[in-house]
Symmetry: C2
Subunit: 325 residues, 2 copies
């Protein structure tokens, strides 16, 4: 067992988080993560309505008696999203912890606090993490340049970002991006983190609700097979390198490209659906982190968490102390 | 004391390297690095002639009886460089270890091997590190995306690159890029490295032969204040963000830009001289890694190495084992 400020504060066995992932963060994945002693998050907006989210929380609860949370990602979207209603559904569902991401979560914090729900905010820079701390969140999750999804525009990887965050923060933080192994967990703890978040690594598990071809592609891909798209629009996303993302990159390199030029190619939720559900891994844009270069199998969630923690314990209790004479 | 395959193979007290840095890697810095028990490298091509290099090795030897090496960086250059003559000077000077960088070092290896000189080759990707291993070098130094100078075109940071290198390599490797603290040393060792290389960190020491304003700027800069230039020409360099590098970036973003358009601005050795010797930190292009965000003082080399090793020992022997229950 590895005990940190994170395991103490959030009441989980291991300092390992499976943050909320759009279309992947359902009870199918989050319940086994909870059973394995890590902290998983249902993705609120993956559920079509606030009522469906409450039902998904109930479904997850029927599969595990261990704690889990809900992720609420607040982004500018084409169609308006009833964030306040999702927030109230989270409160009504009675989960112990929420992961907020995207915009400043300030307006939602009083409701969570009144309900005794702990809040972890995702940040991609030291200054945003410090800002979240000043709002009173319980922890921050700090995403480095390596991460899938939206790693920001600063391009500061975890080795530097986590060490800088450790110096700037008083609250515990979760290291995220580029992490898929027990060695990575130890590196993050050495740099000052209290836990690690893994996304791509949890997608390549038996229980993740995505097509087998997606998992196989993650295993096949090396650390170079991702692409940064939408950089031109200051909305950078790290995705799997495939025909679609390569075409988007080429179009972005052209002068005068607009977001509409690439949005059709990315094709949003439809493209993601084509990949994740139908397994057409070259037919749409999908998130993958550079950690895929460290992923070589598709274990069950329980096997994965046991392995991560076992490797980390071996390094921390034996290998590293054994180097000091 | 931290003992690794690196300290055993290279006969130094600490698993810490100060790799060869153009215009900075002189006896003034390398001798105190050796005295502190780390492995420093004179930059061969910073000396105007092979004879001057032999004299610089002698000068360094007059300042320390501890081992140090010479860096030989093989790059395409405007004026031809007599690499074979520098190589023969290195052999004649009798140093125990050479750091090669840039192009494939194969043609120089037989001479080094015949003289019993160990070779460390710098690589920026797993495949280049594996290639160097196949050539028979004794160790590789693996540079991540965070590093100053030429981190390559793959943009894979250390958290992922070091872990992937550990899996692919049999020979010991030195983690480089984004590292400036004892915590970074521990992270690198956890990820499978046998030592760390620090560049920017050693520039911000009392003994480094650069103007005080350069050291002060490194301390003042945060982890965001670097820029990647020459990306357009597949010759990416990470440099300090300043007026010059910002202008180069703007020009590179224009269609049809040629290398000549930016080379005049960068102004090569003249620009570097203006910065490093005259302290005009906004008047030329100069290398700085993202690790500058973790650098908050200008200690002596001995203070720095003692602190790095002390922090790492504390983490490895006490803090991390103490988290395992």
């Amino acid at each position: 067992m590895i005990s940190t400020r994170f395991t103490a504060a959030f009441g989980v066995r291991h300092p390992v988080v499976c943050g909320g992932m759009t279309a992947v963060g359902t009870a199918d994945l989050v319940a086994p993560v909870a059973e394995a002693g890590a902290l998983g998050f249902l993705a609120a907006l993956t559920q079509p309505t606030p009522e469906a989210l409450v039902a998904e929380v109930e479904r997850c609860r029927s599969m595990t008696d261990q704690p889990f949370g809900v992720n609420l990602t607040i982004l500018p979207t084409a169609r308006p999203v009833p964030y306040a209603e999702y927030r109230d559904a989270i409160v009504a569902a009675g989960v112990p912890v929420v992961e907020t991401a995207g915009r400043n979560p300030a307006e939602h914090l009083p409701a969570f606090r009144a309900a005794g729900i702990k809040v972890i905010h995702k940040a991609v820079s030291v200054r945003h993490a410090v800002k979240a701390q000043s709002l009173g969140v319980d922890a921050v999750s700090v995403d480095g340049f390596e991460a899938a999804g939206h790693p920001g525009e600063d391009d500061v990887p975890g080795l530097v970002l986590f060490a800088a965050a450790a110096r700037a923060l008083d609250i515990p933080f979760i290291a995220s991006g580029g992490l898929a192994t027990g060695a990575g967990l130890v590196a993050a703890l050495a740099l000052g983190a209290s836990a690690v978040n893994m996304g791509t690594r949890f997608v390549a598990t038996a229980e993740a609700p995505v097509h087998q071809r997606v998992k196989d592609r993650i295993v096949a891909n090396d650390e170079r097979a991702t692409a940064l798209v939408f950089r031109k629009f200051a909305n950078t996303a790290r995705v799997a390198l495939n025909d679609v993302s390569a075409r988007i990159r080429r179009i972005e390199d052209e002068r005068g490209t607009t977001f509409d030029d690439v949005a059709e190619l990315a094709s949003g939720a439809r493209g993601r659906e084509r990949v994740l559900a139908a397994g057409d891994v070259d037919g749409g844009m999908w998130w993958a982190g550079q950690s895929q270069g460290l992923i070589h199998d598709v274990p069950t969630v329980a096997e994965l968490v046991d392995r991560l923690v076992g490797e980390a314990e071996e390094l921390m209790a034996r290998t590293l102390p054994g180097l000091v004479r």
